[in-house]
Each structure stands twice: as C-alpha cells, then as structure tokens.
C-alpha cells in the first residue's frame, strides 16, 4: 500500500507554547488511523497541518493527493446555501459541470438519507442533519484522504450511532485513508487499524495494544 500522508519531524508552536514537537507519522492508502488524546494535546493541529490549514514551524509534510475530505467538529456549512448547494460547491471547485455536480451531490445526500432536505437551509436542519450534509460534502469529492476531527461532538447517543454507521459504510466504499481524531476511545471506528495516543508535545506516544504498528515521536529540541 502506498503512503498518502507522511509527516517528518514536525514542530509547531502557538506563541511560545509548543503544540507539536518532533512528530512523525505515516498513513497508507486505505488505512484508518485513530488519534487519541485529551484536549489541547495537539490532535486537531496535526489534522490541520495535514489539511494545509496550518504550516509547520519545521519539518516536512507530504500529502500525496489534492483530494481531501475534512469533517470538522461543527458542520461548517454556508448558512445562506441549501444542503444541496453546500455539497455541490466543492464539486464545482473541482471543475465538475453543474449537472454532473448536482447529480453527484444528490447521490451523496441520498446516501445520508437527506434527499427530502436538499432544498433546506442549514438553519432549518438539526445538528445531526447538518453533520450528515458535511459528511455528504466530504465523501462527494471522492477523497483519497479523509480527516475526521471529533465528528460526533455534540450529538446524542442515537445520532452518534447512526452517523458512525454512515461513516463506516461510506469509508468502506470510497477506500480513503482516514485520520480520525477523538478524545474518546469508544468513538473510534470499527475499521480503525492503528491508534496513536498523544500525551503532549514531545512526549512519548502510547502504543495501544494489538493495533499499533509504528509511530515515532521525537523529543523537544
């Protein structure tokens, strides 16, 4: 399996506070990596570095694809656009024709059981529905890398279960490499093949039994 994400000796500070120090990570195609750790330990920063939303102070990040899907803690939908338009938007940015983008967006909204709500504004949808629209948007771009930043935050137990099941099915179908950040081990997806547990910048990574392969974490220079 080819490597789709490679992070070498990454350092990142916010002000004087080191958030990521000497972090190394390799993620292969089709792999699902769970990243565990308490709040403020740098999990989300690592996802944001992979997505290009942050630049490292030092080190090198290589992501082998421009097709990235990102499911944030909040849905991050354009409030003035319908559910359908929100899913169409990145497809149009990819250069897809309007009819093609509409068809594809409808297909993914259908998968998320949102066909009846495609013309509805985000403000008229429930929290769970909004998150499902965000999932439809992320999967519609046929991502090679899918980044999940605590996607179940704020959802009740039943919603969590349904969205988790939608996620598992969709990931199985698209075969993307997944990096799933969460503070709660019970939220990890069933298909998780490796778990990285972060304790803090420059601290040792706790390798979780039977699923951890290799992970290196350097020391604060």
């Amino acid at each position: 399996m080819s490597v789709v994400i490679r992070m070498d000796n990454i350092h990142k500070r916010f002000g004087k506070r080191p958030v990521v120090a000497g972090f190394n990570l390799t993620v292969r195609q089709g792999e699902t990596l769970g990243m565990l750790g308490p709040s403020g330990v740098g999990k989300s920063t690592i996802l944001r570095l992979i997505a290009g939303l942050e630049t490292p102070d030092s080190g090198r990040i290589r992501v082998a694809t421009p097709r990235i899907g990102f499911v944030f803690q909040e849905a991050r939908l354009l409030p003035w656009d319908t559910a359908l338009s929100n899913v169409v938007l990145p497809l149009r940015a990819m250069g897809m024709s309007k009819p093609e983008a509409l068809e594809r967006a409808r297909q993914y909204l259908r998968r998320m059981a949102l066909s009846e709500f495609e013309d509805v504004l985000p403000s008229q949808l429930s929290g769970g529905m909004r998150q499902r629209v965000a999932l439809a948007r992320a999967f519609a771009v046929a991502p090679d890398v899918l980044l999940l930043d605590e996607p179940f935050t704020g959802l009740d137990k039943a919603l969590k279960k349904s969205i988790r099941s939608l996620l598992e099915t969709s990931i199985n179908e698209c075969g993307a490499a997944v990096v799933h950040v969460t503070h709660d081990p019970t939220e990890l997806l069933d298909r998780t093949s490796r778990i990285v547990e972060l304790k803090g910048p420059g601290s040792e990574v706790l390798e979780t039994p039977h699923r951890v392969e290799t992970i290196e974490q350097g020391q604060e220079p």
């Binding site: 997505a51 290009g52 939303l53 421009p66 990235i68 990102f70 944030f72 909040e74 991050r76 354009l78 409030p79 003035w80 656009d81 938007l89 990145p90 149009r92 940015a93 990819m94 504004l121 403000s123 948007r137 771009v141």
Partner: protein, 268 residues
C-alpha cells in the same frame, strides 16, 4: 432582607410588544398623522412666511411636479448627481474596504484618511471642494462621494474582519478558487453590513448633494431651495424639503429594504 435581586434584563429593556391585532404599519401611519397635526398647529400659530402649512406645502409640491422646467432643470440633475455620487462613493468605499479586509497594512495606511474624512464637518468639505472644482456637477458628485465612501469603507472593512473563519477554512480545504470564495462567502457575509452602510450613506449622500447644490450649483433641488429662500417662497421651500425626504424614503423603501430583507432571509 434580600441581599441580591435578580432581574431579567430582556424584560426590562424590551419595549412592550404591540398588540397582535394592530399591524406595525398602523403605528407608522399614526406617527405620520401626528407629525402632520403638529405641523398644522404650528403653521396656524406662525405666519405663512415662517411656517407653510401642510396643505400649502402639498399644493406647492404638486405644482413642482407639474412644472416641466423644474423637473428638467432641478429634479433630474439632482437625481443624476445622487446616482453618480452613490455609485462612486459606494463603489470606492467597498473596494477599499475589501482591500483593507484582505491586507492589514492597507487598513493601517487608510486609517488616518478615514478618520479625517469622518471627523471634518461636511460644510468645510463643501467649501474646499468648491475652491478645487468650481461650481457644478463635478464638485457636488466629488463632495458626496468623498463623504459617503468612508461610511461604506468602515462597514465593509469591519464586515471583512468578521467573515466566519471556519467557512474560509472549509473553502481552503476544498480548494475553492478566489472567485468562488468571493461570490459564495465574502459577498454573502458582506451583504448585511454593506446594505446597512448604504442605508446611512444614501440619507447622508442626498443631504450632502442638496447642501452642495445650495452652496455651489446653478441647478438642482439645492439651488431651487436657495432661490425659494431668497424669494421668501416658504411653501415651495417646504415642498422642496419634502421632496428631498421623499427621494430618501423612496430609495430606502423601493431599493434598500427589499434588498435587506432578501439578505436577511438567506442569512437566517
């Protein structure tokens, strides 16, 4: 003895809700009727040379609308100037506001100019611009556009700063091109503050056009006002004032309010 009293701030501040059966328009109409009543009482108390009554004013206004020379020589040039000044002022202010929102140094460089333009009294600008541009349309349009632009600039620049960073991040992740980000995120986010600015700028702009025309133009509503004052045609003077108010009201009711409602609906 109570040591602490909790009050509900919402209930203390909110005005009493109007009765569900009376539409808000009825309150507006009663406000207008009250103003007219007060005006009528004043006009009965003072001489017609000081306060023209509502009936005389409305008759003079009707006369103005029937007068083709007035329409061609005064109303049309004023409307043209208002249109041009608002286009330049709103366009220039919005363009600079967008630039300032994107590029911090631009905002810092423009800050002193913005401060000067918003703190100098309008009449001083009128006098200075009369010296620079002479009398006529160029002077009136330049003055108004110069005074309107900072209002729009401030609203747009502040709007740019408050665009939801989360949405911009989403746009980066999904590689939305700048054209798409401008159209789908910035424009929608700026529509609210921009329209609020335009509402204020329109009122100020029309007032400034009339003021500038009064002081330095040979045609326009402002010039007609100056002539009416000189000739002590109080009813016509009041009619011209009412006409200026009607222009502001028409722009707000016919253009700005629908646009604002459309934006609010989309942003809901």
């Amino acid at each position: 003895m109570w040591t602490r009293v909790f009050t509900c701030p919402g209930s203390a501040i909110s005005p009493p809700t109007p009765s569900g059966r009376i539409p808000p328009l009825a309150y507006h109409v009663s406000g207008i009727v009250l103003l007219f009543l007060g005006w009528e009482l004043l006009s009965r108390h003072f001489s017609g040379l000081v306060v023209a009554g509502p009936a005389e004013t409305l008759a003079a206004l009707a006369g103005l609308f029937r007068n083709e020379t007035f329409l061609a020589r005064h109303l049309l040039p004023t409307l043209e100037r208002i249109g041009m000044a608002l286009c330049f002022g709103v366009g220039g202010g919005a363009a600079l506001g967008i630039l300032a929102g994107f590029i911090e140094p631009v905002r810092l460089v423009l800050a002193p100019a913005r401060w000067i333009l918003t703190s100098i009294p309008g009449v001083i600008i009128v006098v200075v611009f009369m010296l620079w541009f002479g009398m006529g349309t160029v002077m009136v349009v330049c003055i108004t556009a110069t005074m309107v632009a900072p209002i729009i600039y401030v609203n747009v620049a502040d709007g740019m700063m408050s665009v939801d960073r989360n949405l911009l991040e989403m746009a980066r992740v999904y590689r939305l091109p700048l054209r798409m980000r401008m159209a789908r995120i910035y424009t929608m986010a700026l529509a609210g503050p921009l329209l609020s600015g335009v509402v204020i700028a329109t009122g100020n702009g029309i007032r400034l056009v009339v003021l500038a025309e009064m002081l330095g133009a040979n045609e326009g509503i402002g010039h007609a006002l100056a002539i009416s004052r000189t000739n002590l045609q109080t009813d016509e003077l009041y009619a011209l004032t009412l006409l200026a108010m009607l222009i502001i009201g028409a722009v707000e009711v016919l253009l700005l309010r629908p646009a604002r409602k459309a934006v609010q609906r989309r942003r809901a």
